[in-house]
Amino acid sequence: MSPRKLLLLVVVLLTLGALYVIQDEKQFPTKYGLDIQGGMHLVLEAKDTEKIKVTPEVMQSVIAVVRNRVDATGVNEPVIQRKGDRQVVVELAGVKDPDAARELLGKTAHLTFWELPAGVQAPMTASGSQPAWVKTPLDGAMLTEAKAEPSPQGGWQIAIKFNSEGAKLFGEISSRNVGKPVAIRLDDTEVSAPRIEGPILGGSAQITGSFDAKSAQMLAVQLKAGSLPVPLEEVETRTVGPTLGQDTVKASVTAGIIGFALVALFMLAYYRLPGLVADISLAIYAVLVFAIFKLIPVTLTVPGIAGFILSIGMAVDANVLIFERTKEELKNGRGLYSAIEIGFKRAFTSIFDSNSTTLLTCAILYYFGSGLVRGFALTLAIGVIVSLFTAITVSRALLHALLEGGGKGLKSPVYFGVKLPETATKKAS
């Protein structure tokens, strides 16, 4: 098999493979950005406290806590990334209750247990002033489990379980406080102060208070996910309803198909036979790029789709360059095959240099941009790289295959959109 035929076979196999990837939504799902499927994009910033300054180690634990809480909401494939020195980017696609998720992520939820000093019996003194509660060493970090459950009194409560250290501490605290209350505080708010009826040694307890199903659930998640070492503040929020983006996508896809058809028609009308070849390469290009988007996977956003459509227009550029060069050579009286070869060869340096600058721009956009800008840069860059392959290698192989298989009829320069002077026609044929 000649190298050219082998290449053609590779192209056919690649295209079939890509088509398989495209139609198989289960194994290779298309990843849509938040602007398309709806969802929430949050940037949270860690704030220094008097005791704790934000360091890389602190940020690590902040991210771990945020991740735990996000996981508890059951959102699929969340994005949780550190950005800069003290920011966390959270992207939740298709989240149903964005307001609740916002509430959940930023809460510090530091659970502490407080007891009364020895000798003091009740939290309220006769004069009505608060007695000094004393903080015990037991805190939320020693929890192994927290879950919301209906309380026997009606309403909801949170059942908690401690690790061995916590169980031991809780045993000691409950033993020395029988008949006295123990206060449970979340951050700086007292959630409840149940009276201890007897020593609790198993390491299990309930937090009661005025909870409904939702708030109990949320507190349980916060407790189980641990407490944030420093407070987080929202600095950027974007929530997009799903219907908004889907309308845009439908419109963009229609626009893309129309754009593709217009370009294809133009190429066919202007460049004839090579135009047809360029159109086939372009179709293969679109199929390959889309398959790559699904394989990597690239998150498709509205500007990302625009970048993809724009890259169709740019992908044709290489073919335009080559065919213009081929036409020039044909006009100068060169034979068909050598004109094509020279066309491909001479066009290469300009294709290489011009696409390098586009890739350079993409790299800079990707580096400095975030979110949507990155999506655009990435899709455009993939498009440029794939177009180098399809516009040069694939269209060359196709053109030769057509000329070899098409018999004598196709070999006239007329099919290349060239009108030849009498003398040159003789030379060319």
Binding site: E103, T237, G241, T248, I312, G313, R346, T357, L365, F376
Partner: protein
Amino acid sequence: MATNENIQTEKHALDVMGHKGLWFGVSIAILIPCIIAIAICFQRFGAPVKLGIDFTGGTLMEVTFDQPEKIEAVRGVFEKQAIEPHITAATDEKTFSIRTPYLDKDKSLSLKEDLRKVGSFNEPHFRLESVGPTIGKELLRNAAMALGFGILGILLYITFRYQFDFALSAIIAMVHDGVIMLGTFAIFSLVLGAEADGLLVVAILTIMGFSVHDTIVIFDRFRENLKFAKKGDTFGQIANASVNQTLARSINTSLTLVLTLLPLVILGGHTIFFFTLTMLIGVVIGAYSSIFNAGPILVLLRERGNKPNGAQTAAKTTA
């Protein structure tokens, strides 16, 4: 090389180099209103275009009620909290865009609750964007950095692959395109109230990249023709021939881009309308500057650079 046999007598469709003044004049005629618009924007908004919340920080809410509602009712919700909103209503009086200074989480959530009291709306249609002021500054800084590094990178690349004055000419043509795109957007800001977001930066940088892409193809032809230049060929003649030889390609490539962008502008929806429209304008301007500015500027630089036989020196150094 057959094409270079008679470069001095070759007839060309366009005498690009001979009418340098005309092309520069056209560019200046387009640049002037753009620069005026940018200046007015600077005076009015303190920036070359009206900046959206992406840059300034702020909160944008978009709500679609089930029934048409009075804009006064929506405004009242915000004014009750002493917030001065900027509200635009869709013609059906159901959809409202509300822009306010930056609102923190608690405030925006409580305002959303208050909006529910105005009328019922569907959660999936609600859009909220809140950008803190520091994030906006960061984006502005990143945009400036991207622009700076982009220009530097392209300058280095072309200098490395070609020569410094090639790079300089391409960059001047590219900056020309950037200023016109920014100026066009400034006019949109003044006339249509368009606000710049991160996508405008993307559009301008992409088109600047495309402009250079286009220029390089023409310069590649310069480089090739210079190699085969004969004694007596002036740099201007070579440049003229090169531009003409690549003219069909320049036009066709820009045309295919216009063909792909035009449907996006018409059908793409309002979120990317200004993004695609700015790119469309940029493609046309980029094609113009590549053909009519980049080459003539290079010729001007060579002639000024006291190289009467510029072709020969260039041929030696680039070959």
